[in-house]
């Protein structure tokens, strides 16, 4: 048979291996393969779909513009400004801000950690309801909570008035202003981040591991210390950093509590003195702090995902509290009273009082303004986040990580800073749009899109790539596959991302305050304006609607975090 034996189905002269067509220009070929290999290594071994890459890259670059331009402006502020800041303002502000972050995180840990353990691992009566209630304080922007606390505990507040009526002479309570009040209020309304992450980690914990420790001769506290704690530690750390992150970014509370931090100082520079260079310089230092915290948070969050059990999983039998359930119930009751009961009661009380003076119909306008701008921002952010989330989930490599990082840069900008940065950017490049709704919406998108990226990415990771491959093999193009397979399957993640952006945009105060078009008042602004003048009752109706609108997105978030694992998951 000869040659035919070696190559039974010859290609004739067109056969590349036979004719050496591929070897004609070996250097060209090697160079081409090398370039392509370097390129696809950037994207985790799969070349990304071109138009998706273009959209993702464009979005990521746009998201990074505010931060980069802020830095440019800060560096251009001049030597004198920096020297001034360095010696006069910085030490005090830095100390105050760090103290606030630490105190808030510590207080939030005191509330969130025991609460998470009680509702996930014990037989606490009513734990299923408490699981949800524990996360509900997220509906409150912290500044609304501080208005409530100042009205109750502040000078000539409800408590002092009440005591005066009982005692018969004026009573002075210790001041609520300053660090203790700020830290307490921020902790009361941000501890749910820590609580939710910890509870989710505890719920995902595989009891088999604890049983293994038991068979290895460990008991009680030793198991907790050597098995349980290390396994939930990344989630706890991520949650704690999340609280610290919110404490750093908080403006409303520290302004009302008259505690000087970076955010209030920047706000003052902007509104009081209008010194944008100085504000930019201050902002970059605050942003450096938030960046540090965010980097840490991302690291821990990634590790927390690693520790989640796949495969066989068994729930832990609840610890019996016995007589300890009474102190436990008192603790839970106290936390819920302070973070949920008191503010809700006060807002209802203000609303009732405000209604006696007649209903202000402009309230409808505020509701519409809030809902429409938050929904617009949420929709834009959800859509723009998708290509970046898709690349991060399917083409995980240095390239997609870089885009991801760029897109996250807005997250490091606290509301005050994002307002400043957007002012710079729009006045510099799009002055025609300055003062329109779009500046405000753009600020929301820059600041909160990372939340959407996160939820979409985790939804996409759960969709098996082979399902998309199957669609390709059945004759559908990449785009048709995204439309017919990927998007329908990612709906839960899209909804969660949308509601997170909606919730945060709804609650955002400083960016709204500084960037809203004239006359475009949102609910948050309408809680703030009367409250900062001391007319608390007028804050009631807008606050009530603000928290009512925030309930559905918070429920979606909680449902996703604390989804109960079913028996099928174990199989």
């Amino acid at each position: 048979m000869g040659a035919a034996v070696q190559r039974p189905i010859g290609f004739g002269s067109g056969d590349p291996t036979a004719s050496g067509a591929g070897a004609a220009r070996p250097h060209g070929r090697v160079a081409r393969v090398l370039t392509r290999n370097i390129w696809i290594r950037l994207w985790g071994g799969r070349a990304p779909y071109p138009s998706l890459l273009v959209v993702a890259g464009g979005t990521a670059l746009l998201m990074a513009v505010p931060l980069l331009y802020l830095i440019v402006r800060a560096l251009g502020a001049g030597h004198k400004v920096w020297a001034d800041l360095w010696y006069a303002r910085l030490p005090g502000l830095l100390g105050n801000t760090l103290k606030l972050a630490l105190a808030t995180t510590a207080l939030a840990a005191c509330m969130g950690l025991p609460l998470a353990w009680l509702v996930m691992r014990t037989d606490l009566p009513g734990r299923r309801v408490v699981r949800w209630l524990g996360a509900l304080p997220l509906v409150y922007p912290a500044f609304v909570g501080s208005v409530v606390y100042i009205d109750i505990f502040g000078p000539r507040g409800l408590l002092e008035q009440g005591l005066q009526r009982i005692v018969g002479e004026p009573v002075r309570l210790p001041s609520i202003y300053g660090l203790p009040g700020s830290a307490l209020v921020i902790a009361l309304f941000t501890y749910p981040y820590l609580y939710l992450l910890t509870a989710a980690a505890l719920g995902n914990l595989n009891y088999t591991l604890e049983e293994a420790a038991r068979t290895a001769g460990l008991r009680g506290m030793a198991i907790f210390r050597r098995v349980t704690l290390p396994l939930i530690r990344p989630a706890v750390s991520a949650g704690a950093l999340m609280v610290a992150f919110h404490a750093l970014a908080e403006f409303g509370t520290v302004a009302l509590m008259r505690y000087d931090t970076f955010t209030s100082a920047i706000f003052l520079q902007l509104l009081g003195r209008f010194d944008p260079g100085r504000a930019a310089a201050l902002s970059t230092i605050l942003v450096a702090l938030t960046c540090l915290i965010l980097v840490g948070e991302q690291q821990f969050a990634r590790r927390a995902r690693y520790y989640q059990t796949v495969g066989t999983w068994r729930p832990a039998p609840p610890v019996r509290l016995g007589p300890w359930r009474w102190p436990a119930l008192i603790f839970v009751g106290l936390v819920l009273l302070l973070s949920l009961g008191l503010p809700t009661g006060m807002i209802l009380y203000w609303t009732a009082q405000a209604l006696q003076q007649g209903l202000d119909l402009r309230l409808l306008e505020y509701i519409w303004n809030s809902v429409s701008s938050a929904a617009l921002a949420a929709t834009l952010a959800t859509a723009l986040a998708f290509p970046i989330a898709y690349l991060a989930a399917r083409n995980a490599g240095p390239g997609s990580r870089f885009l991801h990082l760029l897109a996250y840069s807005g997250y490091a900008l606290p509301g005050v800073v994002v307002a400043l940065a957007m002012t710079f950017v729009f006045l510099r490049w799009l002055p025609g749009l300055y003062g329109t709704l779009w500046v405000m919406v753009a600020a929301y998108v820059v600041r909160f899109m990372p939340e959407a990226i996160g939820s979409e990415q985790s939804a996409l990771v759960q969709i098996a790539p082979s399902v998309e491959d199957a669609s390709r093999l059945l004759g559908h193009s990449f785009m048709a596959t995204i439309r017919r397979v990927t998007l329908p399957l990612a709906v839960p993640g899209l909804v969660a991302g949308w509601s997170m952006v909606f919730l945060n945009a709804l609650k955002e105060l400083p960016a709204t305050l500084l960037l809203r078009p004239v006359g475009h008042d949102t609910l948050a602004v309408r809680v703030w304006i009367p409250a900062s003048d001391g007319f608390y009752t007028r804050s009631g109706p807008p606050a009530l609607f603000l928290i009512l609108l925030a309930v559905p997105p918070v429920m979606i978030l909680v449902g996703r975090m604390l989804r109960e694992r079913r028996k099928e998951d174990a199989a």
């Binding site: 048979m1 034996v5 189905i9 290609f11 291996t17 093999l473 059945l474 004759g475």
Partner: protein, 296 residues
């Protein structure tokens, strides 16, 4: 199968011809697939058999168009789908594929899954074709079920029906039985063979399980280290006799035991290493030994 003496079949009628296909994953030190040549004859079921990491799944994904080769040429029914200057995307190669995890669309019913590749047909034609294919795989009546309400075997059948619905002449199967329990596995490989033959499609099966390979295929190509080993040169229709043991892990039963006479014909009775000499696998004859009630 075609007659032994019918003469060579023209290459453009072969469902698949591969020449010099090479793929190195970026960052890997050696190629996952190295200069392999392969062809599939009309109506034939070919198995790529080998231990994990041998490059068999990569080969399948290269054929499907889910990965891009570094060099080489792939022709499907005489049409070059990958070659110098040619890159046909996966969706235009006209192949069917059954995935390891079935990869059914979880948001679509059985009928919608099967109809997914029939977007070019009219509604009525689509409906008719879905019925036809579901009957072929024995799932008529389950059209409206959702995938997660099906048993493993049923999911497998839906995956096969979905792959066959657009009438591909070549079906790729990536470890399709690995998620099934032992009894179902035996049943499904019979079924898959019957269905493919009834449908008249050629098939490529990738597996590390030699029992699967022997039960379902007309021909086996053993892969190791990114290369096809013991791929028979010469006349494809008259393989020499003799049986060797593909080495896919020491725990697999040496098939020679199934037929002692042929074991004697093999040249290494100790048999845990690749046998020298003629490396032909001829499953049809193995089946005699493995399955006394078999077809031969």
């Amino acid at each position: 199968m075609s007659q032994p003496n019918a003469g060579p079949i023209p290459a453009d009628r072969y469902p698949l011809v591969i020449r010099g296909l090479t793929k190195t994953y970026p960052g890997a030190s050696r190629p996952a697939v190295q200069a392999i040549d392969l062809e599939v004859q009309p109506g034939e079921i070919l198995t790529l058999l080998g231990p994990s990491g041998c490059g068999k799944t990569t080969t399948l994904r290269l054929i499907a168009g889910l990965e891009e080769p570094d060099q080489g040429e792939i022709r499907i029914f005489g049409r070059t789908v990958y070659g110098p200057g040619v890159r046909v995307p996966a969706e235009r190669r006209g192949l069917g594929m059954v995935f390891q995890e079935h990869a059914l669309f979880p948001h679509l019913s059985v009928a919608e899954n099967v109809a997914f590749g029939l977007h070019r047909l009219s509604r009525a034609e689509r409906k008719q074709r879905v019925q036809e294919v579901l009957r072929l795989v024995g799932l008529a009546g389950l059209e409206n079920r959702m995938p997660h309400h099906l048993s493993g075997g049923q999911q497998q059948r839906v995956a096969l029906a979905r792959a066959l619905a657009p009438r591909p002449h070549l079906v790729l199967m990536d470890e399709p039985f690995s998620n099934l329990d032992a009894a179902l596995r035996v049943q499904m490989r019979e079924e898959v063979r019957r269905i493919l033959k009834e449908h008249g499609s050629a098939g490529i099966l990738v597996t590390h399980d030699q029992t699967d390979a022997l039960a379902i295929s007309d021909r086996i190509a053993v892969m190791n280290g990114g290369q096809v080993e013991r791929y028979p040169p010469g006349d494809l229709h008259r393989p020499p006799h003799g049986l060797c043991r593909p080495v896919c892990g020491e725990d697999q039963p040496p098939l020679r035991r199934a037929e002692p006479d042929r074991a004697a014909a093999g040249r290494d009775p100790a048999g845990s290493h690749p046998l020298p000499g003629n490396p032909w696998l001829y499953p049809r004859e193995c089946l005699c030994g493995l399955r006394p009630a078999g077809q031969l």
